[in-house]
């Protein structure tokens, strides 16, 4: 394959097939947003420097601004739009909403995709493990703390615990 013509391909995004035609130098970010109208995935630099464009490919969080769309064909791509089950928010989304983990919300899709991948591997992540897993996602609004707390709360609830946020995290000390 070496021509500059558009390719026609079927992507599996959030478990659904999407057939699109695109030129081969397009990134997954561009194709998701501009060809599939999946604008939930954001961008803040397009150079791999912010994490805003994080999606999952085969369950692994990657930066869609640096993945060629052609390389994602045939793989299982997941974006923020695929997190909720029907109209029910996933526990992670619920906790982010409750704790105010999304202020402007622009980093949120990327943060959610990185955190979701973490929780799949690790049902009881420590604060340090959460920090490490999110060390490629910048957020300029929250200072990350409400995000950490939301992930911890979600992890607990996903383990079936009847967990609530600590009083200090909501009312201060």
């Amino acid at each position: 394959m070496s021509e500059l013509n558009k390719v026609l391909a079927t992507f599996q995004v959030n478990g659904e097939p999407h057939e699109v035609a695109f030129v081969p130098h397009k990134t997954l970010l561009e194709v998701l947003r501009e060809e599939m109208a999946l604008t939930g995935t954001k961008h803040g630099c397009e150079l791999g420097e912010c994490g805003t464009c994080t999606v999952q490919i085969g369950g692994m969080p990657v930066l869609s601004c640096l993945v060629l769309a052609v390389d994602a064909v045939g793989k299982d791509v997941r974006t923020v739009e695929g997190l909720a089950i029907g109209s029910d928010l996933a526990p992670l989304q619920d906790c982010m909403a409750d704790l105010g983990g999304a202020q402007c919300g622009y980093c949120t899709p990327g943060v959610l995709m990185a955190a979701d991948a973490l929780l799949k591997d690790n049902t009881r992540p420590t604060r340090d493990e959460i920090k490490e897993a999110l060390a490629g996602n910048l957020c300029r609004c929250t200072g990350y703390i409400k995000i950490f707390e939301a992930i911890e709360l979600a992890a607990a609830r996903m383990r079936g615990e009847d967990a609530e946020p600590s009083k200090e995290s909501i009312y201060g000390s």
Binding site: A37, K42, D94, L99, Q103, K131, L138, F148, I170, Y171
Partner: protein, 850 residues
């Protein structure tokens, strides 16, 4: 209580929520229902679902993509622009240059000095020259590369010192003289006497490097000039009203009533999207030219060119104190590097002098401020606008004073607190004032008395230190940016027989939750679930004017307006219900989605039924509310900057661990107490405080708008050194410390339910606290921000070599430029019997010859 999740239930409302409190609006309700509870934000669900549509998420059929060609020279005249080759590129649909939009604009009426595209003079690398729209973004970009620009290079003015030394070439033909944009000189009280009475005087110089907002969302706009001859622009702006005005001005004769600005949800603002921008105006004009929708999305680098962030400020502060540490006089100079345009710079200049008096009582105060034009991206408001730099200087200086006098820095501050319900030397009216409580909290929480000065050593050989600092901030500017007598904020409420309440307000939610504030307040007054309320904001066609999301004004101003509108609506509904159930209106309670008799709660009806009844009796229900801040006590020229309905207060203790060999330090923990008046929603307020700590630490440790300045064979390059997310360093999850946060609720009579600001104040004390903590650890002073490891290292080296253990600007002319500030405007303080007017009227500093 999170309404759609019964899981989160914590504590009853705080004690201030009782009905005997003056800010309690409804005497029939003994507890607040929604205020003070951690309710989910009205837009939280869509944000965590990826469904919130930011400006770049919008598309329209036939939409064109626009790119701007920007100056590659720091300072030049434009001799010639040739766009003919670009015009021939297939897919190019429109080209604009400066001559298409000759009318200048700017956020402040006193500095209308920007053009949508530079007609003949470029003032920094990044100043836009040509706009090209094409069917694809790549085509527009490629076409821009084909534009030929002939520059006639002018000498570059690279900073405050260069600007002070070189009157020519001028960046602008207005301002004070040469490249001085503003000079302010205000004297309150009797400085000579104040210093005379001082037992100890010290003079210090400080430098605060500029830094920027770095919102994750790059600015974006979509403009559509439709077939009816009306223009709509969706834009990531914090100030749709001001953008509306700028568009009307530049696009004249298109009448303002045919322009609609819709502020899209924001991917971060922090002040960086508060000016009307070139790309917004060009997109609008381009849509008018091509008859097609036009979208523009800036690259990260272009966001750095837009900037409007923290001014680099050089400061000199002379302070006089008594033996016991009481401040008798303060003489403060600031020199602001304004960058290429005016922006909010006039206000910024005043802000570097305004709030010193609001934290501590300053008996006699002299402020001199100068702002310069330089060939850099223009500076403007960033979180803490203009007050951050002097706060750094003052809080570090106070630490030094405490050291000189052997007084505990916390005690020194407690002894100097500005009194509550008082008027300051510069005529700012303080209402509630919880700084004392804030200091006590962080002192106790951090173990200040036990741990400070102990120089504990960590396992990896780092030395611990604790630093304390305080601050205050406005809850909204007392004056609008253009002179007018209209309200600062308007709210319209519509009640529908379905029980729906719709709130219309011109405010814009930049992530701080201002849409939700409207919902919480209206929900509280009408006793309905805030998440059932529809909030419509930031649309100049539909919503009454609110001046915008800046100066922490939204909660207080829109909140008060919303409260008024909601109370009026409650009155109407109560009237209808009272008649129907034959109970006096004054006995009706609006709570839990019902309207009922306080004495017999069973008698009543649902809110929906109540609205229906009122509508049947009184007709369609709609109310309005508006808010104008109280009149300022300051009547002198320049007194317009600083007054606010109320002031928030913060105190912090920061812990550092310094590696004495390298100067590298980390911040493991921060204690922050913030006097918020009342937390309308504690979870959201906590988020604002934590976000402020984060941004403050970024400024303290690493963030800076560094410029590359280099010459080779007569060629000087002068441009932003690192305009990228990677190289403009901002803290990641791994740099964020543990935070212990205290919310002090000292309700203020001017705030809705007593609320004051929270979005900006807690940022301010972080930087000086870090500097003070570094001193506590390794006994060196870094009088510059950022307090980078290199500077700590340099100061440690100086100490080891027996020199002044300090890093900072010199006190002589190499450090502080020689500027003639002219005669001061003299104002008697309230305690001297002053009335807020000046006792002299110095002829304004000599005007430049044209």
């Amino acid at each position: 209580m999170v309404l759609d999740d019964p899981g989160l239930k914590h504590g009853a409302a705080s004690p201030q929520a009782r009905s005997d409190a003056p800010w309690q609006h409804d005497k029939n309700k003994d507890e607040l229902e929604h205020i003070g509870k951690p309710i989910r934000k009205v837009d939280a669900r869509s944000k965590v679902s990826g469904l919130t549509q930011y400006a770049d998420d919008l598309t329209m059929p036939r939409m064109l993509h626009m790119k701007l060609l920007r100056s590659t020279m720091a300072h030049a005249e434009l001799a010639h622009i040739d766009t003919s080759k670009a015009a021939e590129v297939p897919g190019v649909k429109g080209i604009l240059t400066g001559k298409d939009m000759p009318m200048p604009f700017g956020i402040l009426p006193v500095s209308q000095d920007e053009h949508a595209l530079c007609p003949d003079h470029v003032r920094f690398v990044g100043d836009p020259i040509v706009a090209i729209a094409a069917t694809e973004e790549e085509i527009a970009w490629d076409a821009c590369r084909l534009v030929e620009v002939d520059y006639r290079e002018l000498r570059t003015i690279g900073g405050v010192h260069e600007a002070a030394a070189n009157e020519e070439p001028r960046l602008h033909d207005y301002g004070v003289r040469g490249n001085i944009h503003r000079l302010e000189n205000l004297e309150f009280g009797d400085l000579a006497d104040g210093f005379e009475r001082a037992d100890h005087i010290r003079e210090d110089t400080f430098w605060f490097e500029g830094n920027t907002h770095l919102p994750l969302e790059q600015h974006a706009s979509l403009a559509h000039f439709d077939k009816d001859g009306k223009l709509t622009i969706w834009s990531s702006t914090q100030t749709p009203h001001y953008l509306h005005r700028a568009l009307a001005r530049v696009l004249h004769p298109l009448p303002a009533n045919r322009i609609r600005v819709i502020a899209t949800p924001h991917g971060g603002g922090f002040g960086g999207k508060s000016d009307p921008f070139n790309h917004e105006i060009c997109a609008a004009k381009m849509s008018m030219l091509t008859g097609r929708p036009v979208k523009v999305v800036l690259t990260r680098e272009e966001v750095f060119w837009c900037h409007r962030g923290r001014h680099p400020v050089l400061m000199r502060s002379k302070i006089g104190v008594s033996k016991t540490g009481r401040i008798t006089a303060l003489d403060f100079h600031s020199f602001l590097d304004g960058g290429a345009y005016g922006s909010y710079g006039t206000a910024s200049t005043f802000y570097t002098g305004a709030l010193q008096t609001v934290t501590y009582a300053v008996e006699n105060y002299h402020f001199r401020g100068a702002r310069f034009f330089t060939n850099k991206a223009p500076c403007g408001p960033k979180r803490g606008h203009g007050t951050v730099q002097p706060r750094f200087a003052l809080e570090v200086q106070l630490d030094k004073v405490a050291c000189d006098l052997g007084i505990d820095p916390a005690k020194l501050r407690l002894d100097n607190l500005a009194p509550r319900e008082s008027v300051t030397a510069n005529y700012l009216r303080i209402g509630s004032m919880g700084l004392g409580a804030c200091i006590e909290k962080v002192v106790e929480g951090s173990g200040w008395h036990e741990r400070r000065g102990k120089k504990e050593v960590t396992k990896d050989g780092r030395i611990r230190g604790l630093g304390l600092a305080c601050s205050s901030y406005l809850s909204g500017a007392g004056l609008p940016i253009y002179w007018n007598g209209m309200p600062h904020s308007g709210v319209q409420l519509q009640l529908d027989r379905s029980g729906l309440c719709t709130v219309f307000c011109g405010s814009t939610d930049i992530g701080q939750g201002s849409d939700s504030v409207l919902g919480w307040i209206v929900g509280e007054v009408l006793g309905i679930n805030p998440l059932d309320i529809k909030v419509v904001t930031g649309d100049t066609d539909l919503t009454p004017v609110d001046l915008g999301s800046y100066s922490s004004r939204v909660t207080v101003m829109t909140g008060n307006a919303a409260m008024q509108a909601a109370e009026r609506a409650r009155e109407i509904v109560a009237k209808g219900v009272a008649k129907k159930i034959e109970v006096p209106a004054s006995r009706l309670v609006f709570a839990e989605g019902r309207v009922f008799d306080a004495e017999d709660p069973e008698t009543g009806m649902t809110f929906m039924e109540a609205v229906g009844i009122a509508e049947a009796q009184l007709g369609t229900i709609g109310t309005v509310g508006s808010y104008t801040p109280p009149k300022s006590a300051a009547k002198f020229r320049g007194g317009g900057v600083g007054p606010s309905p109320s002031y928030s207060y913060s105190a912090t203790v920061v812990e550092v661990e310094v590696d004495p060999e390298t100067g590298i330090y980390r911040v493991p923990k921060v204690w922050m107490a913030h006097d918020i008046g009342r937390a309308l929603n504690p979870a959201i307020a906590m988020g604002q405080i934590e976000g402020s700590i984060y941004m403050g630490l970024g400024e303290a440790m690493m963030e800076e708008m560094a410029y590359r300045d280099r010459s080779h064979k007569g060629q000087r390059i002068f441009l932003h050194k690192i305009p990228s997310m990677l190289e403009y360093k901002s803290p990641s999850t791994l740099e964020m410390p543990d935070c212990v946060t205290y919310m002090i609720e000292d309700p203020d009579k001017n705030g809705p339910f007593g609320a004051k600001e929270v979005g900006q104040g807690p940022l301010l004390p972080i930087m000086p606290a870090v500097a003070n903590a570094v001193f506590d650890a390794v006994d060196v002073r870094v009088d510059e921000n950022p307090i980078s490891c290199e500077k700590v290292f340099a100061a440690i080296q100086a100490k080891n070599e027996g020199k002044d253990a300090r890093f900072g600007p010199a006190l002589d002319a190499t450090g502080i430029p020689d500027v003639d500030f002219g005669e001061s405007l003299r104002i008697k303080t309230p305690w001297q019997g002053g009335d807020g007017t000046a006792s002299n009227a110095p002829s304004r500093t000599k005007k430049a010859k044209k």
